[in-house]
Amino acid sequence: MDTCPHLTYRSEGDERSFDTERAYCTVLDEFVQPMRADVCNARYDLDPEDHCEHYRAHEGIDP
């Protein structure tokens, strides 16, 4: 998988605002931790389908 379809970049949301657009998960409706953003962006050997429990739960993929 490439970038997670539930990832957006926003400067406002979750009752917070930032100077720069940051990773935001539309499944959780919250900004994403920087380390987890590497999963969302499928960087290195990370992949949302394999490594994100929120993606898997949303898509109904068994553990």
Partner: protein, 284 residues
């Protein structure tokens, strides 16, 4: 590394872990991410009594960065403002070895760099592997560049790895291990486990004490009393007390320095810390 060291007044090294690679401003808006923010935070921590600064680099949007150029910008910002001992992270959950080498390649190299001593879990489905090959490769490059490793011991199995590392590799004295306590893969944060680990350290080792989250202050207190050193900062704990975000890294340094002073433990300045750690007397 004993209560006798505390009684003898061995100076305390305070490491400030400013940024980290896990959370960012979404967790605490006071966490520094840009080189300028990190440099300013480092200067405030030095003024508050820190002698070592543990550094990570970020992209403009706060996400993790491993590139030498990003670390160069951060380390330059710190060196311009402080005489602190610069310690770069080589941690990198999910990142390949080639990326994790990059923080070692700044000019000049950092005086110290972290070396994670084994695997640990992140979230539900991610593991930071830290294989023996990764450890040995990073250590080899550190030795080539004259960088002292800070051996990060996330649990007692990693302490076994420290002993085995010392049996197969040459490290300058004193070996320096950070004992880490918290949830998940980390050593369970109990005083008994703390005592067990410091009693099991290699002969001659100096230890640093790191408690995550609400364990930061009490484990710092134990580190102070048992002759170790302490690490505090927003990388490891974004709160000052329950429900109250920390205002800055310096606020956390000030508190632990005040605790040391109350307990009568002198706090090392960067020059004294370099001597304790066996580093060159002057900053690079």
């Amino acid at each position: 590394m004993s209560y006798a060291d505390y009684r003898d007044g061995k100076p305390l090294i305070v490491t400030a872990a400013l940024t980290g690679g896990v959370h960012g401003k979404e967790a605490n808006p006071n966490l520094p991410e840009t080189p300028a923010e990190i440099g300013t935070a480092a200067a405030a921590c030095e003024a508050a009594g820190a002698s070592v600064v543990h550094l990570h680099a970020r992209q403009e949007n706060g996400e993790r960065a491993f590139a030498t150029e990003r670390f160069q910008a951060v380390t330059d910002a710190v060196r311009e403002r402080t005489d602190l001992i610069v310690q770069h992270s080589t941690g990198g959950t999910g990142a390949p070895l080639s990326a994790r080498r990059q923080p070692l390649r700044t000019d000049p190299p950092p005086e110290m760099a972290s070396l994670d001593m084994g695997p640990l879990n992140r979230y539900r489905r991610v593991t930071s592997e830290n294989t023996l090959d990764t450890i040995d490769e990073l250590l080899s490059e550190m030795r080539e560049r004259g960088i002292k490793p800070e051996l990060e011991v996330f649990n007692s199995g990693h302490l076994t790895e420290v002993h085995e590392l010392l049996s197969r590799a040459e490290l300058d004295d004193p070996p320096y291990a950070t004992l880490i306590f918290g949830s998940g893969t980390l050593t369970r944060p109990t005083p008994r486990n703390f005592l067990a680990e410091i009693e099991d350290l290699p002969a001659g080792a100096e230890f640093n004490t790191l408690g995550f989250g609400p364990h930061q202050l009490p484990f710092a207190a134990m580190g102070i009393l048992f002759g170790g050193h302490v690490r505090v900062g927003l990388e490891d704990n974004v709160y000052y007390r329950r429900g109250e975000l920390a205002e800055s890294n310096a606020q956390l340094v000030e508190r632990v320095v005040g605790l040391a002073e109350t307990l009568g433990r002198p706090v090392a300045d960067p020059a004294e810390a370099r001597e304790l750690l066996g580093l060159s007397a002057s900053p690079r």
